[in-house]
């Protein structure tokens, strides 16, 4: 069977149930054995507006979305008007007959009485969403048993009645489509099951981040709700009770980071989540974590700023901010996962780095990664390592005559004890301090303590996550990127190289400290380097110039709040004259 690669979109107003249809179909596609990538485009409002849920399915792993659609499910008129032009030739449109009265004939379409069928077969008009999922599944040739089993799984928590009602509604949609749709469908998934993606999980970047934190033994999370990080908070809050951990919604981001600092210094693996504005409030706490050598994980889910910016949109505008935020000079690590799978492993790793070096660690996510769904193989939990760094064991605690929380060592890392563990007591502070932790303004000691902290940064640089490289070796053009923009670059490489180009994509999972040697190598082997990122000022390019002296030749930037895909990257390469598109 040839490679399968289809895209569909569900559009409508907030509150209409786009997510219900999308979530059902995503689970069903995964169950059918397809790879998927789905993203949600939504406004910062509870009702109305125009939102959509876009799903791409394929017989190979996916990293980004397509520009064109094979299937559109329109729940309102705006969806039809806005997305009709994205349809491929012979694309199918399913529209809600009760909400939409098209001015012109919609070719190759199914007018579906969603609410009516929902009420009649599922008992409630809201079941119309399941009707729509059933109709789409039928038109695409999906196996009905798979759809029903997915509905059972999704709704089992709500009781058998609800499960039955949903299955009936889905069947009604499917029957209606079988009788009334006489058009062509190019996105047939009948028999599509290459086995590759069987037993896959469907997971968003946020969910993967939360799972990574839980796997690492995160015992405390304090946060203030903020899109796009709220999903991580809610996921972790739901697990309190199943796992020994506490989640607390703080009164503000300042309280959030300081609560986690208190918990971390008393021995808990602790985390906060926020977006740019909230991170701005946390910055003094970040600086405190720096001087007090507090291991702390900070999830910074980026969205367009400045200030409140565009709350539900995406951007990568906080790279330099996250690296430089905080008064004074202190070591930190900054990571940026590119995919859901990456988010799991990087988050778990972040807790180890935080404790090993006793530093704050920032994970830069973005709305695009946070809210997008991916099919992922179950993580090998045996491969998750826990490294708590230099903790005094009980025997060592007992042998102490004095305890110096900030003992000066060659590595800069001091043996750690928690309050209550040592009779001599633990002194933690945000003032410059003696090795004992008591305040000092002595110039020599201050210099020694600054050096001690900077030595940790140097050691971290030897322990850095190195770039992930994809595509041709010694390429004509290297697309150097970070975070979720990697998906677009990786798929651009595939598309271009299939046409005979020599393209390579690489991303930096760790952006501070930078993997300097590997970056030098990357520049050496490529004929030219193009940075790709979602901001206006080319922050990765600037960082590379400052830290490595290397000068990328061109930058592909996007800062309209919407994610980029491979088509965008290729068009930009062409437009910039970088890419001799054949």
């Amino acid at each position: 069977m040839a490679d399968l690669d289809y895209s569909l979109k569900i559009g409508g107003e907030a509150g209409q149930g786009i997510n219900t249809i999308g979530d059902i179909l995503c689970k069903a596609f995964a169950e059918q054995g397809l790879h998927l990538y789905a993203y949600q485009d939504y406004y910062s409002r509870v009702r109305g507006g125009h939102n959509f849920y876009q799903i791409r399915i394929a017989s190979f792993p996916l990293y980004s979305f397509s520009s064109k659609l094979e299937l559109l499910i329109a729940l309102d008129k705006a969806s039809l008007d806005l997305h009709e032009n994205e349809m491929k030739a012979d694309g199918v449109i399913i529209f809600d007959q009760e909400k939409i009265d098209p001015e012109n004939n919609v070719p190759n379409s199914l007018a579906l009485p969603m609410a009516e069928l929902g009420k009649k077969h599922g008992g409630k008009t809201v079941m119309g969403n399941t009707v729509a999922a059933g109709a789409a599944w039928q038109i695409m040739g999906g196996n009905p048993e798979i759809l029903y089993s997915v509905l059972s799984k999704l709704f089992q928590g709500k009781g058998n009645k609800i499960v039955e009602a949903n299955i009936k509604a889905a069947r009604a949609g499917s029957d209606y489509a079988a009788e009334n749709f006489s058009g062509r469908c190019t996105c047939n998934i009948k028999g599509a099951n290459n086995g590759n993606s069987r037993n896959s999980m469907v997971m968003t970047g946020n969910e993967a981040t939360a799972l990574g934190a839980l796997a690492a033994g995160c015992r405390f999370m304090s946060s203030y709700p903020m899109t796009p990080a709220s999903g991580v908070m809610q996921y972790i809050a739901r697990q309190a009770g199943r796992l020994p951990l506490a989640f607390e919604q703080a009164e503000d981001e300042i309280a959030a980071i300081n609560m986690s600092i208190g918990a971390a210094n008393t021995g808990l693996r602790s985390m906060v989540g926020t977006s740019g504005s909230g991170f701005s409030l946390m910055v003094e706490g970040l600086s405190y974590a720096g001087i007090s050598e507090t291991p702390l994980v900070i999830l910074l889910g980026q969205r367009p700023g400045p200030a409140t910016g565009m709350a539900t949109r995406t951007e990568q505008g906080e790279l330099l901010f996250s690296i430089h935020a905080g008064n004074g000079e202190f070591p930190r690590a900054v990571f940026a996962p590119a995919t859901a799978e990456d988010a799991f492993w990087i988050t778990a790793h972040a807790f180890n780095i935080a404790e090993k070096y006793q530093v704050p660690v920032i994970i830069l996510s973005d709305q695009h990664l946070a809210d997008s769904s991916y099919t992922v193989k179950p993580f090998d939990l045996n491969a998750v390592t826990i490294d708590r760094g230099n903790l005094l064991n009980e025997a060592e605690q007992g042998e102490l005559t004095e305890y110096n929380r900030y003992q000066i060592t060659d590595s800069g890392i001091s043996p750690r004890a928690f309050p209550g563990q040592v009779k001599q007591c633990v002194v933690i502070t945000g003032n410059e301090h003696l090795e004992s932790g008591y305040s000092t303004e002595n110039p020599e000691i201050h210099t020694k303590m600054v050096d001690k902290r900077i030595r940790k940064l140097n050691r971290m640089a030897d322990d850095v996550k190195t770039p992930e490289i994809y595509g041709k070796q010694n390429p004509e053009t290297l697309l150097l990127t970070w975070g979720s923009s990697y998906g677009a670059c990786r798929e651009a490489v595939d598309l271009a190289n299939a046409k005979g180009e020599k393209l390579q994509a690489a991303y930096l999972p760790q952006l501070w400290p930078l993997p300097n040697d590997q970056i030098q190598d990357l520049f050496k082997q490529a004929n030219r380097v193009v940075t790709v990122e979602m901001n206006a000022t080319g922050q990765l390019g600037r960082l590379l110039r400052i830290e490595t002296g290397l000068q990328p030749e061109y930058a592909i930037l996007k800062y309209d709040g919407r994610p980029m895909n491979a088509d965008y990257v290729l068009a930009e390469l062409e437009q910039g004259g970088v890419f001799p598109w054949q």
């Binding site: 309280a255 609560m259 945000g430």
Partner: protein, 288 residues
Amino acid sequence: MAVDKKAYNLDRENTWCPGCGNFAIMEVFINTLAGMGFSPHEVLVVSGIGQAGKMPQHFRVNTMHVLHGRILPVATGASLADHRLKVIAVGGDGDGYAEGGNHLIHAARRNVDVTYLVHNNMVYGLTKGQASPTSGQGTQTPTTPNGNPLAGLNPIQLALGLKTALVARSFSGDKKQLGRILEKAIQKPGFAFIDILQPCPSFNKINTFKWFKDRVYDINDEGHDPGNLEEAFRLSQEWGENIPTGIFYDNSDDRPGFREALLGSLDQPLVEEDLNPLAIKEIMEEHL
């Protein structure tokens, strides 16, 4: 059983001004803890920025010297992590009522198991004499050269309004009363709040030791029942010729403490829980 208070000894220079109310508070603090049988390593003092915040630098005890105003969030996280620790928060009026005002409201709502001492000298000491939230209206300071345009905050009223588990006011000049209240506050499960009036001989020339001494009286000696919230509110209005001190309110309701609300009946301190990645297997597999 009492612990020898020498266990708290620490040879460190003290930079407080002579006559500062902090000395008396520190003396009572150590005597009370030792008297109640706490060893220094069983206590965690979270302190803020300001002269009061320096207190735990002068005796042996676990301490977190934190950002200005952020004592209560840090204390909250620490007490959740290990509830075997006796967590006591210490700061001044600027730290607690200005920079950290928001946290006072929510710590009281959470009923976190922390004793909170505010050394209230009605002025900024460490930064040399600026107005504080409790400075009286009309008070001239370097930042209010024409007199403070604002009326002073009434912390007792604020704490009562939040139905804080224990609300008290004391005076650094009455060590006996302070010791009695502190012991009660430390025993109290949940959030216990003590506003401690104290002179600042360097920067507050109005509210001096004598000024306080001439005005304070003990409401409990005069028969106030700390279970009576209404009466506590009435007493909290009083300020001027007579200043009521003592325990205004000591709730007897069984509002759960913060730890219980979040962690239920989990006995083991969170900090003692093993970290095991395999524990999330079931949660992960819900995504299948």
